[in-house]
Symmetry: D2
Subunit: 169 residues, 4 copies
């Protein structure tokens, strides 16, 4: 709907870098979820491409329970100058999904069938936020996980639930 725009607002740039996920995905099929994510957390498997957008890293990893940290920046702002809800959804989907993944043996996959996020407080750029994901109910066909998001002062920013379909080999 537009020709080349020109805006008075100050312009910023950022360069993203990511790796082809194909080799690590093939590797994933032969490893338990916890082993695979541990390899990723320790830097021997590259993070998924989407990680370039959100800058997410693991703080801790255990069966059914993960903690991830991200630092949103001004590129994640919505029109009103707070972090876009989609960024928050991406982090919480990752935390809930990884929590499910840590419970799966080698050869078993999963896919999110839904994600629900409740937003409680505005999120601002420039300081780390912490996403904690945990499995509430595992199962052979469906797993149900939750994740919450806190700022550095421990204030609850958002909470999510996710149902994952378990894909048996």
């Amino acid at each position: 709907m537009s020709e080349e725009p020109t805006f008075d607002a100050e312009q910023f740039t950022k360069t993203l870098t990511w790796h082809d996920p194909t080799p690590s995905f093939k590797l994933a099929l032969s490893m338990s979820g916890l082993d695979y994510l541990t390899e990723m957390a320790e830097g021997r498997i590259p993070p998924p491409p989407i990680g370039a957008h959100i800058g997410l890293g693991f703080s801790s990893l255990a069966v059914g329970d993960v903690v991830m940290t991200a630092v949103p920046d001004a590129s994640h702002y919505n029109p009103i100058g707070t972090v876009h809800g989609g960024f928050i959804a991406t982090i919480l989907d990752s935390a809930a999904g990884c929590a499910v993944h840590t419970t799966l043996p080698a050869g078993v996959g999963y896919t999110s069938i839904d994600l629900r996020v409740n937003y409680f407080r505005a999120v601002h750029a420039g300081a780390p936020i912490v996403a904690h994901g945990w499995v509430v109910k595992s199962g052979s066909r469906v797993a149900y996980a939750e994740a919450d998001l806190h700022d550095g002062d421990g204030k609850l920013l958002a909470k999510a639930t996710s149902s994952c379909l378990i894909i048996q080999p």
Copy 2:
């Protein structure tokens, strides 16, 4: 948890560009939602910074009904080489939120209090996907909108619902 990683997987880069949203946000307060988004669709107001990540543009805009188009690329992939659910959530949150915004007069704001996404089919990079958002129930305190996502063949990929708190001046 890691030192500088080295991976064998092929590496890619992409540079994002965005504008400071502050000037356009100030402008937004003086305009109806439909006028504001129309200015943005026609290129006279810059898209929000998050747009740099997802490359979203308007295809049509009417009161309570918007259509947006995006082209996911390989940077949006999750570990298994399909587009990350967070990318889809970001697009659907935008479409549902913009649909609500088009119904608001100047001076009235909104904020998402929840977003729920149901994922139906894997989304792949390289082809446009179309997000349609519409208001199901408007209100002076809460508005409820839905959005769905189709591929170029008209296949339904995902669907979302969102409740927005209306902020009266």
Copy 3:
């Protein structure tokens, strides 16, 4: 926490009647969902016991699309004298679930894994309300349906979504 209470408020009674669902459940396994629900709608199979509480009947039945009608009464009131959200959830869960059931061949079952209801307007006793359920996305493992609730004037009272796990024989 209490002994026998005595209240000044006026007291009402209602007697429920229902049938053992076991015989019809056994029959259900040998019929398509549409045939089974049609038998029920036409009075040759008894409604499920829960129907005694909510007084729900079919208005129309087609593959992936059902309409049900109920008349809430004063026994369904919450503490503030409007129909309890749980009654509304029960009707919408039934409409969404039956819509899924109509799409299933003989021998294939389903079970709701989630139900989400958004409440828009207070519901009052004494007049019929109409629940329409439809399948948005069918599938061999998961089906996703929606349902909405209108009053006799066509006002939208509530809307629900439900994911059902499909149980292959």
Copy 4:
């Protein structure tokens, strides 16, 4: 769609008794939520009419945290002979809503704007089930609560989330 049906299946009856909620609702406006629900738990205010359908009672009540117990019976069965999801939704909506109510001072009301239930295990009649509701995030405009449901062996049967709009005087 039917004339008077005759079924071979065994028939059962149950008589419900409830009280007009109007007097207690008027009283509620002058009391804090915790005081009001405590009066109800101790039998000095009648339970809401819907309670006649589900037989719900309080086991404990504190600010932002309630425990309720119910005993489903065969009248709550769905067509396949397990307790209908709507019964479970009704109990969890009540537990989440009452948890929010306990946090409100006199004169402040609330109304559920959504309820989401995830179903994990089939629920059977004849044994008590325990619903625990708690407030995750209170607020002057919206409160967010959760509730879960366990059987007598401590098995998790279902979990719900609810957003409530707070109605200031």
